[in-house]
């Protein structure tokens, strides 16, 4: 069980690294939103699953599972709210210059 947890920790760190790279280097609001949202969801999910694998069957695991379910529901919804706000503000999506 410990090796699976180590694999999930490394996976979470890798996803967070790609997400922050996209947040710094992407050219537009929508591209930054896409990279940071997908990578943050998967990285936090991986780290929480690693903590659940490490702690076994206990009340700790139950609390972490509640946090995981709430996070899976709310983080894409928050991303959608931010994207709709950016669209209503009139921000034009970025296109590669010809």
């Amino acid at each position: 069980m410990s090796w699976a947890a180590v694999v999930f920790f490394i996976l979470g760190v890798f996803f967070a690294l790609t997400g922050h790279l996209g947040l710094l280097k992407a050219p537009d609001v929508y591209t930054r939103l896409q990279t940071s949202s997908t990578c943050s969801t998967t990285s936090v999910l991986s780290i929480l699953v690693a903590c659940m694998l490490l702690s076994g069957i206990s009340p700790f695991t139950g609390k972490v599972a509640a946090i995981t379910i709430f996070f899976i529901i709310t983080n894409p919804v928050a991303t959608h709210i931010i994207a709709r706000y950016a669209w209503e503000e009139g921000i034009v999506p970025w296109r590669r210059q010809q």
Partner: protein
């Protein structure tokens, strides 16, 4: 360099703290408000992961309640900021 479990957990905590600094850089230099909200959402999710890993490392489930409340208020904060700043809700 050994790859035991406490070393991995310590490096994960250090990486999450450093990634919060990267998000705060984007909050400072972001050109528009949506950029700042994106980076704020990302920093909030990293802090949730940081709190859960800290709770496992310290062995105390008190941090998990903090993580739950932080998750709820992060979502409500994004919702309130966008609703307050959007043009449609101001015109009604």
């Amino acid at each position: 360099m050994e790859f035991s479990l406490p070393v991995i957990i310590d490096w994960t905590i250090a990486f999450l703290l450093g990634s919060c600094i990267v998000g705060i850089i984007r909050i400072i230099i972001g050109p528009t408000t949506a950029d700042r909200l994106t980076a704020l959402n990302l920093v909030g999710s990293q802090v949730i992961a940081l709190l859960v890993v800290t709770a496992f490392r310290a062995g105390s489930p008190v941090y998990l309640d903090v993580a739950m409340v932080y998750s709820v208020f992060g979502f409500l904060g994004v919702l309130a900021i966008t609703r307050y700043l959007s043009k449609r809700s101001n015109s009604k």
